[in-house]
C-alpha cells in the first residue's frame, strides 16, 4: 500500500465490507430471535387458551351437575313425595270400597312409577357417592346395573383408594357410569368387570368380553351425535387431569382405563 489515498481506499473497503457483513448478520440474528420470541409467545397464548378452555369445560360440567342435583331433589322431594301421598290416598280409598282389588292395578302402576322416579333421581345424583364416597358408589352402580341387565358385573377393588374432592369424585363416577352404560348397550358382552386400583394414582378400568369397538371411528362420527359419550368421557378425563386409555390391541371385547394422579384430584 503505497500512498495515503490507497491506504484510505483499502480502509474504506475493509470497513465497508465488515459493516455490511455485520449488518447482514444483525438482520439474520434479529430474524432468529424475533421468531423465537414469537414462538414462545404463541406457546404461552396456547397454554392460556387451554387453561381457559379447561375452566370453561369445568364450569359447564359443574353447572350440568348442579342442574342434575336440582332435578334429582325435585324428583325425590316433590314428585316422589306427591306420588307417595297419592299412594296412601289410594290405599285409604281401597279400604272403603266393597271391592278393593279393583284398585290393585292402579296401585301397582303407581308403585312402578315411584320406583322409576327413585331410580331416575338416584341416577341423576347418587346419594351413596355423597354419603360414602367413590368406591361404594361404583359398587352400588354395578349392583344396580346387574339387577336391571341380569349380566354379571364384577367390581374389584385393589389397594387403598383414597377419598378426594366431592366434585371430582362425581366427575370420575360419571365416567364409570358412561363406560358401564356403553358396555351394556353396545358391547353384547356376557360379563363386565370394573376394577378400581389405589396406589400412587387412581386407576379405574371397565373391561368386557363383547364385540369391542374402535374408539377413533366412533369419535370421528361424533358429528352425527354417535360419539358424544366418548367425547364426554374424554372431556371429563381432561378436566380431572387424567389419562384415558382405550386398549386397541385386544382381540375380544374392550378395555378402557382411566388413570388420575391423586395430586390432580
Amino acid at each position: 500500500m503505497a500512498g495515503p489515498s490507497e491506504y484510505q481506499i483499502a480502509l474504506l473497503i475493509t470497513l465497508g465490507t465488515v459493516g455490511m457483513l455485520l449488518l447482514a448478520i444483525a438482520i439474520i440474528l434479529f430474524m432468529v430471535f424475533y421468531q423465537k420470541k414469537m414462538i414462545q409467545e404463541q406457546f404461552k397464548r396456547q397454554q392460556l387458551e387451554l387453561i381457559y378452555q379447561q375452566k370453561m369445560m369445568e364450569a359447564a360440567l359443574e353447572s350440568q351437575e348442579q342442574e342434575r342435583r336440582r332435578l334429582a331433589g325435585e324428583l325425590h322431594d316433590s314428585i316422589g313425595a306427591m306420588l307417595s301421598t297419592i299412594r296412601v290416598g289410594i290405599i285409604t280409598i281401597a279400604r272403603q270400597l266393597p271391592e278393593p282389588e279393583s284398585l290393585d292395578q292402579s296401585k301397582k302402576m303407581l308403585d312402578d312409577t315411584i320406583s322409576s322416579v327413585r331410580a331416575i333421581s338416584r341416577e341423576l345424583m347418587p346419594s351413596t357417592l355423597e354419603k360414602f364416597g367413590f368406591t361404594p358408589a361404583v359398587k352400588e352402580l354395578c349392583e344396580r346395573f346387574q339387577e336391571t341387565s341380569l349380566l354379571p358385573i364384577h367390581c374389584i377393588e385393589h389397594g387403598e383408594v383414597r377419598s378426594f374432592e366431592k366434585s371430582r369424585e362425581l366427575m370420575l363416577f360419571r365416567v364409570v357410569q358412561e363406560l358401564l352404560n356403553n358396555a351394556l348397550k353396545h358391547s353384547k358382552a356376557s360379563v363386565i368387570e370394573v376394577s378400581i386400583e389405589g396406589g400412587d394414582a387412581l386407576s379405574v378400568s371397565v373391561e368386557d368380553n363383547g364385540i369391542g369397538y374402535d374408539p377413533d371411528a366412533i369419535k370421528n362420527s361424533a358429528q352425527n351425535g354417535k360419539g358424544l359419550g366418548l367425547f364426554n368421557i374424554e372431556n371429563r378425563a381432561r378436566v380431572l387431569g387424567g389419562v384415558i386409555h382405550f386398549d386397541k390391541e385386544r382381540s375380544i371385547g374392550s378395555k378402557v382405563t382411566l388413570v388420575v394422579p391423586y395430586e390432580k384430584v
Binding site: 500500500m1 490507497e6 481506499i9 483499502a10 474504506l12 473497503i13 465497508g16 465490507t17 455490511m20 457483513l21 449488518l23 447482514a24 448478520i25 438482520i27 439474520i28 430474524m31 432468529v32 424475533y34 421468531q35 414469537m38 414462538i39 404463541q42 406457546f43
Partner: protein, 224 residues
C-alpha cells in the same frame, strides 16, 4: 498470500459447490423446487469454475462461459425468490430480471469486456441483498410461528445475503483494485472466495435440513 494458497482455497470452494450439487440432487423427485434450483445454481457455478481453470490455458482471457453462468445463476436465484415469495411479486421480479440480463449482456459486449464484470456484480449484489431482506420481512409477517432453522429457504437466503453483503464493497472497488491496488488483488480475491465458501456452507445446512424434513416428515418446519 501466494497464488498457490489462492488456488487451494478456490479448489475447496469448487469441491463444496460439487457437494452441494450432490446434496441437492439426492432423492431428486422428493425435493422441493427451491432445492432443485439451488442445485442447478451450484452446478452452473461448478461449470464456471471449470471454465475458469481451463479457458486461460487456451489463450482466452475473458471468461465468457463464466459470465453466461453468472447471468443464468442470477435468473435462477430470481426464480427462487419468486417461488419463496409465493409468486406475489412475479411481475417486479421478472422486470428486474429482464433489466439485469440486458444490462449484463450490454456490459459484457460494450462496456467492461473484462474477466471480472464488476458492474454486474454490484447490481446483482444490491438486488439480492434487497430480495433477501424483503424475503425475511415477508417471512416474519406471513409465517410468524414457523421454525426458521428447519426451513431450507431460510438458510439459502442467509447464505445469499451474507455472500452479497460481504462482496458488495469489493465489487464497487474492483476496477480500482485491478488498476491501483493490483499487488493486494490476490488478497481481495481470496476474501471473495472465502465468502463463496461461507455461502456454500450455509446453503449446505439448508440442504441438510431439507433432507431431514424428507426423512422425518413429522418434524417438518410447520407451525407448532
Amino acid at each position: 498470500m501466494t497464488i498457490e494458497s489462492y488456488l487451494l482455497i478456490f479448489k475447496i470452494q469448487s469441491v463444496l459447490s460439487a457437494l452441494n450439487v450432490i446434496l441437492s440432487f439426492i432423492s431428486f423427485s422428493k425435493r422441493q423446487i427451491e432445492v432443485k434450483l439451488i442445485g442447478l445454481a451450484c452446478l452452473l457455478n461448478l461449470l464456471s469454475d471449470f471454465a475458469w481453470y481451463f479457458l486461460p490455458l487456451k489463450g482466452k482471457d475473458v471468461n465468457i462461459p463464466g459470465h453466461i453462468a453468472n447471468i443464468l445463476i442470477f435468473i435462477i436465484f430470481c426464480y427462487l425468490y419468486n417461488i419463496a415469495l409465493t409468486n406475489k411479486y412475479k411481475r417486479v421480479i421478472t422486470w428486474v430480471c429482464i433489466a439485469f440480463c440486458i444490462a449484463a449482456i450490454s456490459n459484457h459486449l460494450f462496456l467492461q469486456k473484462k474477466d471480472i464484470n464488476s458492474y454486474n456484480q454490484i447490481a446483482s449484489s444490491i438486488i439480492f441483498i434487497l430480495l433477501s431482506i424483503f424475503y425475511f420481512y415477508r417471512l416474519l409477517i406471513d409465517l410468524p410461528a414457523q421454525q426458521l432453522h428447519r426451513l431450507p429457504m431460510f438458510w439459502f437466503c442467509t447464505g445469499i445475503l451474507i455472500y452479497n453483503a460481504g462482496t458488495l464493497f469489493l465489487s464497487v472497488f474492483t476496477n480500482y483494485l485491478v488498476e491501483v491496488l493490483h499487488n493486494d488483488f490476490l488478497f481481495y480475491g481470496t476474501f471473495l472466495i472465502i465468502m463463496y465458501i461461507i455461502q456454500h456452507l450455509v446453503v449446505m445446512i439448508g440442504l441438510w435440513q431439507d433432507l431431514r424434513n424428507i426423512k422425518s416428515p413429522s418434524s417438518s418446519p410447520s407451525a407448532p
